[in-house]
Assembly symmetry: C2
Homo-oligomer: 416 residues x 2
């Protein structure tokens, strides 16, 4: 740990480690968010200690990720076989571990607790109260928002989560939203004090997610990924679960020309059978040979996939931000996204991509087909996509976040 002048931040991410590969299980955009934000904060002199639940005996208790960033794997329940619904029962164990780590530090070590997702918010609430420091919270997803836009066949989030979220919203000194939509949802659905809510758009690593070199044509890119050249490619990157809507794309594919292919870059989430079910659906609607499922990949390779695709589709039923859309646009690939949540901010309709209302496969096929058939429009959107992506930088996000921490400390001082 370097000596530093910035604040010391206890960053809580109970249910998923920022060191995990996103795109499967419980790991998604939030993991990227926590890690990238921490790195950008550390670059500004902050000391960030990230607490996450240990999920494997192979994880060392403490990992020094980079100067100024340390990850603590807190034992709380068994490494495996604990699903998200059982996690609330582990919050006491987790919080005890966080308090134990702090007790080994000099008194008053942390300046702020920043919690992510409601489970961490519950642990953060207790820890921040114990240490008498401000609690800053980012929701990432909200049960009330998710339940209002549930995918057909998906299970609503339980009342216990809604209650837990309400408490965290009330207890936090500051709430961070990624978009205006998320900020509004916090105020209207969770009765958040508008003065406590700050919009901090997450960033995209623009050094990693950038357009292809002029020498890299699409055929070469596809060859490198082992993807035979041929017709247009639609890319879906994300967890395979109803919330993300990959089934909409599989069904849309049946309405599209036979040379159009769909690449699904992601693993099962929620149910272990999710990928198999998606493949069964593809078989059923007669497009099994046009769907390629590939496990999720690390950022540099993910960027290659974005560049290799003609269009990236994001048919989620809800997204608080929509990191995949932002990353794809940064790579200069137009995005076709559902007009929900943060995607309405990230994707500028007609400029960086296309927003689609609803999840009717025929509508999606029409929008995707029109875009794939119009090379000039795709070229125009690609330029717009790249331009739109410059709005999202982690350095700007970290600067805003440090300001949120400072404001929260002031608010906390007045309260306490």
């Amino acid at each position: 740990m370097t000596s530093s002048s910035g604040p010391r931040i206890a960053m809580l991410s109970v249910h998923t480690s920022p060191l995990e590969q996103p795109g499967t299980g419980d790991a998604g955009g939030m993991n990227v968010y926590v890690l990238e934000l921490s790195q950008a904060l550390a670059r500004r002199g902050a000391e960030v200690e990230i607490f996450t639940r240990a999920t494997s005996s192979a994880q060392p208790p403490v990992v020094d990720v980079a100067p100024g960033i340390r990850v603590f794997h807190v034992p709380a329940g068994p490494f495996e076989g604990l699903d998200k619904f059982d996690l609330p029962g582990q919050l006491c164990a987790f919080t005890a571990g966080v308090l134990r780590a702090e007790a080994r530090r000099p008194e008053g070590f942390y300046d702020v607790v920043h919690s992510h997702y409601w489970l961490s918010g519950q642990a953060g609430w207790l820890a921040a109260e114990r240490w008498d420091v401000p609690l800053v919270h980012t929701m990432h997803t909200m049960a009330r928002v998710k339940n209002a836009a549930l995918a057909p066949g998906d299970t609503p989030e339980p009342a216990g989560r809604v209650i837990g979220e309400e408490q965290v919203v009330a207890a936090a000194d500051a709430l961070v939203a990624s978009t205006r939509e998320e900020a509004d949802d916090l105020v209207t659905l969770y009765d958040a004090d508008p003065d406590k809510v700050t919009i901090v758009p997450p960033g995209v690593d623009l050094d990693v997610f950038c357009p292809p070199a002029p020498t890299d044509d699409r055929a070469a890119l596809r060859a490198r990924l082992g993807l035979p050249d041929g017709g247009p490619v639609i890319l879906f990157a994300g967890r395979v679960q109803l919330l993300k809507g990959p089934d909409v794309l599989v069904q849309a594919l049946a309405h599209l020309p036979r040379d159009v292919r769909l690449v699904v870059l992601g693993g099962a989430s929620g149910r272990p059978t999710a990928v198999r079910e998606l493949e069964a659906l593809a078989y059923q609607v007669g497009v099994r040979d046009r769907v390629l499922v590939h496990p999720p990949v690390a950022p540099a390779q993910l960027a290659q996939w974005y560049r290799a695709a003609d269009v990236v589709a994001v048919p989620s039923h809800n997204e608080s931000f929509g990191l995949v859309a932002a990353e794809a646009q940064a790579c200069g690939t137009p995005v076709v996204a559902a007009a929900v949540g943060g995607l309405r901010t990230v994707v500028v309709d007609g400029v960086s991509g296309v927003l689609v209302d609803g999840h009717d496969p025929a509508t999606w096929a029409r929008e995707l087909g029109a875009l794939l058939a119009d090379d000039a429009r795709r070229t125009r959107l690609a330029a717009g996509a790249r331009a739109a992506s410059t709005r999202f930088g982690w350095d700007e996000a970290a600067t805003s976040m440090l300001d949120v921490y400072a404001q929260a400390a002031k608010a906390h001082g007045h309260r306490g």
Copy 2:
């Protein structure tokens, strides 16, 4: 609070208040246990502070129940509409409330944490670690035991509870079991260190639960309870839920002479429709007019019902102790109980009552019918029942418990 020489005990009962009427919802024998034990401990000079989750806006934050006993209603989640499955998500909020109460006390206020049921154990684990005091835990019921003897149609307890129980067993400095069976289950099913397990039989308030006065014949007793005199009465006292097996008695009734009646003294638990479903079953098997359902009543009146009955039936699928059986026997009423868990200790087969294997209604009808038809045997068992009940006194329980606390403090000192 009186000044005292005994230990200061933080007694945790998250999910049900000792001030609630047992016999409905989540309130049962454990509520009686916590309150009676606390009273007996206070009589021995201990200061007992009981922490329970606030479930109504009508509850004052602090209730001085008796000299040396105080109940704290800790706000953690909404007063109503939170079912037991949502409680794990409220443990951080609850624990924060307990820690807050302690922080207002002089340093090192509590000598021991005694937690009841696994949810409280999770909170107690964190609190005891923070305060560096021993954790004493009573399980009351165990998921693995319940799941192994599940009533048909009942839902198994979730993995998260099993894990939470294992953690509490491992973390506790001392474990209290009500019976030898429960102690064995702790060791064999939860890998408890046998040296940490102490058997402390709960008590029965023998001043309240005592045989009828010689002047009180059964007809007079029944008249006072508004129960028309007539044929034999079988009493079931407890929560109406599958675990307690009231359906077994309703079905058995169909095999018994038409003058035999069943009184169900209890309210719905688990499902709000539980009582209605039991009544529908009674209608279906043609005994609706022979089943009287009455809401649960306070101890003095409960004793009257025990005395008014010819036999008290306890057909539970599992009981860690079986307080109803012990109370009924103290009133001199023979008990017919399922040969499960603590009931095998409480009911001495052929001496204080009858133990029945399994839950086949025909078997239960045969055993109940034989006993109801044999006045001499019932008189003999009544004397045995009263004798058997003298094994259970709260003063003895409190003395043993103070010893457990002292031993736990010693063990904790060695570990810490």
